[in-house]
């Protein structure tokens, strides 16, 4: 019986930062470090799938969850939170989805763990996730009226 740490993430935060900048430098709208451990990066919704696949597949990041926020600025903000196993940093990708279309590509085909949270955001905030593998209600009942979104502020 082993009581020790077996598997280590093999990159440092500096290396990760460098790799992200090498690949996506021109696509980052804003890079904001609130402190050493909390990084928020704004990108365009069209780059989301590439960026998150790069994080998850190439950099071996762990998907934590996504938070959808309805804003008064005519759209919905979605933050995809990632971390890098043993590293303390939480890396949040922020995208702004414009109303009234509210359509983006789903990342669930590549990141299995994102399947539920995308279903939740879809039903609570009314964002359409294209190419989602299993889009149906998660926490609201099946007979929930169409077009009613509990976390929207404009309703």
């Amino acid at each position: 019986m082993s009581v020790l740490r077996e598997w280590k993430y093999d990159m440092t935060w500096k290396e990760i930062e460098q790799k992200i900048h090498e690949k996506f430098d021109n696509k980052i709208i804003k890079w904001f470090e609130q402190n050493d451990e909390r990084i928020y990066v704004d990108i365009d919704p069209s780059d989301m799938v590439d960026f998150s696949r790069f994080l998850f597949e190439d950099l071996q990041a762990r998907f934590i969850t996504a938070s959808g926020v309805d804003t008064p600025r005519g759209g919905i903000e979605i933050l995809y939170h990632f971390d890098f196993y043993q590293l303390p940093q939480v890396f949040s990708l922020r995208i702004f989805v414009k109303k009234p279309e509210l359509e983006i590509e789903s990342i669930a085909p590549y990141i299995k763990g994102a399947e539920w949270i995308e279903r939740e955001i879809a039903e609570l905030l009314g964002v359409k996730f294209n190419n989602h593998p299993n889009m149906k209600h998660l926490i609201l009942p099946e007979d929930w009226p169409e077009g009613k979104y509990p976390l929207r502020r404009d309703q």
Partner: protein, 394 residues
């Protein structure tokens, strides 16, 4: 042709109602559908109408078993947003409460797992020794559950110096009990036969499904927020995280038992290292901005995201509980296993499962429907243990 066995949607024994639809061929499980949301309370929406102080109380109501892990993540998020940390003594007290809770939560799960596989003695033992923890919690906080100890930049009650020797003495009673569980569970050939190689979640699957806590660690994924992103007093004390490689139900049991020893270690060190000092900064207002708080609850990482517009209420409050990630991984862990093992595997992620209120078995060919009680699934599992016991001749 596969049959469908619905399990759920609600069990009065534990919270977190879920609904599992097991697709079976003969005795083998071929597919699992999971439905949640039977008890959606809209706490995220409700939090937007509560003041910062009230939010901490509100999130304490999310889970009854790990009642302090949500307030812990909540104060972490607000302190991340505000940018100041709580005083040292408050951090030690918070750590003690969080670890006491981890022990009693793991014990509760161990007892239920024992009940599932027909070891009711383990169940009764666990309930007996869990009292020790509940008594200590009552001494420190005034409550056996839902302690209401956490507040932003502090705790609500101090641990009295004259109580510390009593707590230490009482806690020392727990060690023989832990040895008892370790011996009873880890040296028993029947439990080995029932749990080894059952419900395996590989390292790759654990990473794909992004599972956390004692579902990830037995699969070789060494994540623990207490080590990775230390909060409270976890980097001031000496302890190890428990990582195992097999990923089966046995590894999940072993991981939890070994973690309880580490928790006792942490509590003892905190009690020794605690120095007199302030326990609260009494800051009332939060600036506009956003904050992320995460803690290692007994079931894994709790994640809170909070946004403030400078007012007295959160503009957005997002909660992600560990079972949200862990339950989903059952989809792969249970496939290919026997029905009699399914109850145990679904319980092994500690989702406060037990949602076997009723079972309806539908035979698609015969179009017959037979309705069973939730206890039938436990009976099935217990019969399997009896059978294993006979085969092993013990």
């Amino acid at each position: 042709m596969s049959e469908i066995i619905p399990i759920g949607p609600y069990h009065p024994l534990q919270e977190e109602p879920e609904f599992f639809r097991l697709h079976v061929e003969g005795e083998k499980v071929v597919k699992l559908d999971i439905e949640i949301g039977y008890n959606h309370r809209g706490i995220e929406k409700l939090a937007e109408s509560k003041s910062w102080d009230q939010v901490v109380f509100l999130v304490e109501r999310i889970c009854g078993i790990c009642s302090c892990s949500h307030p812990a993540a909540s104060v972490n998020a607000m302190e991340d947003l505000g940018g100041i940390e709580a005083p040292e003594r408050a951090q030690y007290i918070r750590t003690i409460i969080a670890e006491l809770e981890r022990i009693h939560s793991h014990m509760l799960w161990l007892g239920l797992a024992g009940h599932f596989i027909g070891y009711n003695t383990v169940w009764m033992w666990v309930w007996k020794y869990r009292e020790i923890i509940c008594d200590i919690c009552e001494k420190i906080t005034g409550n056996r559950q839902s302690y209401a100890m956490f507040k932003v930049w502090g705790v609500r009650r101090d641990i009295l110096e004259e109580d510390i020797p009593w707590i230490k003495k009482y806690l020392s009673k727990l060690k023989p009990a832990l040895d008892l569980f370790k011996g009873a569970v880890m040296d028993d050939p029947v439990i080995h036969a029932r749990t080894k190689g059952v419900g395996v979640l590989t390292t790759k699957q654990a990473k794909d499904y992004c599972v956390v806590g004692p579902t990830a660690r037995p699969s070789g994924v060494a994540i623990d927020v207490r080590k990775d992103n230390p909060y409270f007093a976890y980097d001031w004390v000496d302890w190890d995280i428990v990582v195992l490689q097999e990923g089966d139900v046995f590894a999940k049991v072993a991981c939890r038992i070994l973690e309880m020893y580490e928790s006792v270690k942490i509590i003892e060190q905190c009690l020794d290292k605690m120095k007199p000092g302030p326990i609260d900064l009494n800051v009332k207002e939060l600036p506009p901005g956003e904050g992320i708080g995460r803690t290692e609850a007994p079931r894994g990482e709790v994640y809170h995201y909070v946004r403030s517009d400078g007012s007295n209420f959160p503009a957005r409050y997002k909660v992600r509980a560990p079972s949200y990630m862990n339950i989903f991984s059952n989809e792969v862990a249970v496939v290919g296993e026997k029905i009699a093992d399914a109850a145990l595997i679904l319980a092994a992620v500690d989702p406060c499962y037990c949602c076997t209120e009723r079972i309806v078995a539908v035979d698609r060919d015969k179009k017959e429907e037979r309705v069973m009680k939730g206890s039938d699934l436990i009976r099935l599992s217990q019969e399997r243990t009896e059978q294993v016991r006979k085969e092993l001749g013990v």
